[in-house]
Every structure is written in C-alpha cells, then in structure tokens.
Amino acid sequence: MKLFPIRGGIHPDYRKELASEKAIVSLPMPALLYIPLQQHIGAPAEVLVSEGQTVKKGQMIARGTGAVSAPQHASTSGRIKAVTQIPAPHPSGLAQTTIVIEPDGKDEWAELPEPIADPFTADAHTINERVAISGIVGMGGAAFPSAIKLNLGTQKKLDTLLLNGAECEPYLTCDDRVMREHADEVIDGARIMAHALGVPRVVIAIEDNKPQAIEAMTLAAKPFAQIEVVGVPVQYPMGSERHLVQAITGRETPAKKLTADIGVVVHNVATARAVHHAVRHGRPLLSRVVTVSGAAVRETNNIEAPIGARVSDLIAYCGGFVVEPASLVNGGPMMGQPLPGLDVPVIKGMSGILALTAAEINAQPASACIRCGTCVTICPCGLVPVEMAAFIRKDNFEVAARLGVMDCVSCGSCSWVCPSHIPLVHYFNYAKGMINAQERERRKNDQTRVLAEAHTQRVEAAAEAKRAALAAKKAQATAATATEEKASA
C-alpha cells in the first residue's frame, strides 16, 4: 500500500522494550474501587446509586447526560461505600464526584443486555445504542464517547474506518499487547464498527516497530477482504489522528474540521476490542490494559485493570518503586499528563502509568532561545513554535492565535527537541487555556448583554403598562365625574 509522508516529527528514545514482552496480566481485585463520573470528554455522568446499595458487575451506576457524555458501570459486584469527592487523575489534582465501591469478591455479573447475535444484519442505530450504554470512550487517551463517532456515518459521507494501532508514544505497549493477544477481538470489533459506520474499507495502521502485532493482526484479518493491515513508519506523532489519516490516505483534514469531513473515522484498537465485548457479549467497558513502565518502577507490566483501581494498586502489583520517581505520568511521556498522586483511579482513557527517573526525563533549566529553528522544522502541524512562544510570553494571545496556537495538537515534539529546554508546549497549553477562558467570558458577556436588554425592556414595558393603566383610570375617573356632573346638572 502506498503511504504518504507527514510533515516533521521526531524520533524519541522509544524504550518500548521495557514492557513490550510482558503479556497482559489481570490485576487482583483491589479492596476498593473509585469510579469517577467524568472519565470522558463531555458532561459528567449522573449518579444512579446511593450509599449502601449493592451492585453487580456491569451494572450501570451513573448514566450519561446530554449530547456528549458516557455512563459508568460497576467494575465488579459489591457495595457502594460512598459517593464522594476525590482527586481526579488530572494535572490540577482537583476533586471530582466519584463512586466508591467495596468489592464483595464474588464478581457476580448483573443482568447484561442481550448479545447482538448477528451485528452485521443489525442496523447502525442498534449498534450505536449498545456502544453508548456500554460506556465506551476512545481508549487511546482522548476519551471521546465512541458512540458519537460511530454515528458520523449518518451525517457525513464516509469511506474508511482507520483503526489506530500506531502507538507512537514511547514506553506504551498496551495497544501492542492487545493486538498481539486479542487480534481476533480487535478485528471483530473493527468489522462491527465499519458496519455501523457504513464504510466499505477498514485500514489498521501499526507502526513498524511492532512486527509481532502486525503479524498477528494480518493473520486475524486474512479472512476479511475489506480489512487491510498496514505498517507505518516509526515517526512521532504518527498516531495523531489527522497525521495518521494523511499518512494512510494522503488527505489533509482542513483546520477546524473533522477527519470524518474527508471521509475517514479513526478509532483506537482497544476501543474496537471494547466494542466487540459490548456487542457480542453485552459487556460494558469495565477494564482496560494499562502499561506500567519507567525506570523507577520495580517491574514493568501490561495490566488489565478494572476501571476504578487506584494507581497505587497497580504500582504495588509491580513491586513498588526502585527509586523515588521524578515524575508520575498518566499516558505516554510525550503527551501524557502528570498524575497528582498515587491515590487517583485508573480511568477509561489511561493508557499508561509511567514512573520516570530524572535521568529519563532529562529536564534542564530553560535558557534563552538561540533561534535554531529546529522546532519549526519538526512541527508536524507546520507552526512556528519559537514565534508563538515569544508572543505568549508577553501574554499576547491574539497574535498567538493568529499564528495558529489553537491548531497545535500539543504533541510535544518542539519541547522535546529544544536545545534551550524551553517549555514550549507548556506555553501553548497555557495560551489555549487563556484563549478558551476568554472565549467563555466573551460568551457570558454577550449573554449578559442580551439578558440586561430583555430586563430593561421588561421593566420599561411594565412601567409603560402601569402608566397606561393609571392614565386609563384617570380618564375613567374624569369621565365618571363628567357624567356625574352632567347628571347633577
């Protein structure tokens, strides 16, 4: 298959060998599970259970609200210990509403929705509905509710389902292991998704540094002519949705548009596996494979952990730390987020837990920019990081936006190469946050203006009505007196 080049990119030290040969193991059920209401992009789920209630495995304990949302399910059977606020696996460390389950050890299944016997005769709506109530979100890290993306076939003209098995982030091997060990499930999930989307063609893209995964997937895909497994060059950020679409199809997604607008929907391989479970077995998304790696952890692993297990449970399973980690990362080292601590739970979008030593991070104090231009050369989005950062440093977000800071995908390549160790991506994250906050403020001001005008009009109308009523009364009174006078006259 002919591939297309993507712009820029880097070749970081991948260190996948730390965990790539570790088969997926199941985490023993922890003493407590912490299931946050918001594990996805969109509105948080709404609690359906109360303290003290017993729940079964797979039972929905919080339902999706609004257009973009996803429900949460009990990862095992047990008792609801509390519905409380605990820190989220989010760099802010802010608390969010979380359902705490005390497992009873029986792991008893709730009554699950009927498996869809032949998904290829079922209509798209049935499959989407099943994916939606199964709480499936994008498992590559973005955690966007998958049902919404599967519904795009009704709105856009699609031709390809692109299954993202690139796993371009260093250290991470969870997708690699899933593809090696559960290739059949992934392929089946992909076929179901393709059917729901109504696309004739499935391409599964895997970076060339995972030959076993490519082999396993090729073998599993053999019976299906519509599926093509493609090895793509090892080039970070190949796994970025838009870039992968470009590499495979040569089509460039226009700014502010979706890949679906050019006919391609991208899903992660682990998501496809979750769809397989939901459709074929009626099982909601209750667990995920997490890569635990980094030089600071005693034993690296690919762990199938129940959603809600705490990071500390996984680290303990891996034998704790060899040395105090300098950083604890949720996800890969390039685009992952720092974890605020060990007590936060595993969520649906958590692909890795990295305990990194200072030597691995190689953080240095930033020095002045020498304008070497490497950031410009390697930016996969064709931006000029050095220039944007200079304006953001002066809090000039308007120019930064004009230079394209909102087009930045925060892949981290520029920060990675910068010889001056300038935290470029941090500047861009800051700018994006500020620009979004200002946008919210602007919308609020607009709303305020409208409401204030409505208020003024109402008050004036009321005053006018009052005046009119008064005048009418007066007129009536005058008229009455006049008649009286006439009568008396």
């Binding site: 918001q38 989220a88 989010h90 760099p91 802010s92 802010l94 969010q96 104090p365 930033a366 020095s367 002045a368 440093r393 809090d395 308007e398 300038i422 935290p423 941090h426 500047y427 994250n429 800051y430 994006k432 946050g433 500020m434 979004n436 906050a437 200002q438 946008e439 919210r440 403020e441 602007r442 609020k444 001001n445 709303q447 305020t448 203006r449 409401l451 204030a452 005008e453 409505a454 208020h455 003024t456």
Partner: protein, 179 residues
Amino acid sequence: MLLAVGSLTVMGVALGGLLGAAARFLAVEENPLEEELKAMLPGSQCGQCGYVGCGQAAAALARGEAPVTLCPPGGRATAEALAKKLGVTADLSEHEEKGPEYAVIVEDLCIGCTRCIKECSVDAIMGANKLMHSVIVDVCHGCAKCVKVCPTDAIEMRPIPVTLSNWHWAKPEAGHTVH
C-alpha cells in the same frame, strides 16, 4: 500699504470661508465611537465602574477619561476588546488578580424581601416574596448590585470556583533567563 492690507484681507476671508465650508460639509456626525464602546460593555448598568451606567462609562472611555479596565464584570475579555478598539495598551494585571465572581445568597439570612430580585439587571435571582431567594450561577455576571441593596447582608460575592472543566495550565514559571 493698501495692497498689503487688501491682500491679507482677501486671504483671510478666503481661508476663513474655506474653513467654514469644511466645517459645514465635512462635519462628522455624533462620535460613533461612543455607541460602539457602549455595545461592548455588558449593559447591566451595575455602576461598578463609578459611572451611572454603561452609556456614561462608554462616553468616558471615548473621551479617554476612563481606563479600559474599568469594567470588573466584563473581565479581561472586555478590557482587551476595549483596548483594541481604542488602540491603547492596557495593564490587565488587575483583571488577572481579581477573577470573575458570582453572588451567593446565604439562606439563613435571607428574609425574602425581593429587593435583590428587582435590582438584578439580568434576572439572575429567583424567588418570591417571603420565600428564600437563590442565584442562577450561570446567569449571574458578578456585578454585585444585589449586595448593596440587601437589608440583611445575606448576599456575598464569591470567586467562580476552578473546576475540571475550566482549569487550565498556568503560565510557565519564568525561572529561566527570559528576555
């Protein structure tokens, strides 16, 4: 002599006439800037800027008498828009320190007098006579007019809390040699 006086007079008359004509034919209508500025302000007439209402504030801005940061409820977005419109550079640090706020009615103290409801220019307060009032957080724009009219001091202003949905990364620490 006569020639000098004559020529100067002619020149004076001609130029004066020209000026007069220019003033008449090239006259600018009422300064449109004021209207534009007014449209940029929240329009809730809260008076926090020290002027009676947004119209007066806009007039002051147009005359260059008021700083672009005059509107606390408008926040940084408004200040920046005003600065751009007026072509001035503004020190927005004040807006940085004091984030947006919203009003909260302390239930124990509210006597249900409805004064705040009448005062609120965006109809953000719900309630009825003798009943506890409450503020619709999403609508309240933090003008604090209600605080002033409350007879029992039952309303307080609180900063809008940071949540997972509005949190964002802070500016990188300038621990390095920034130029």
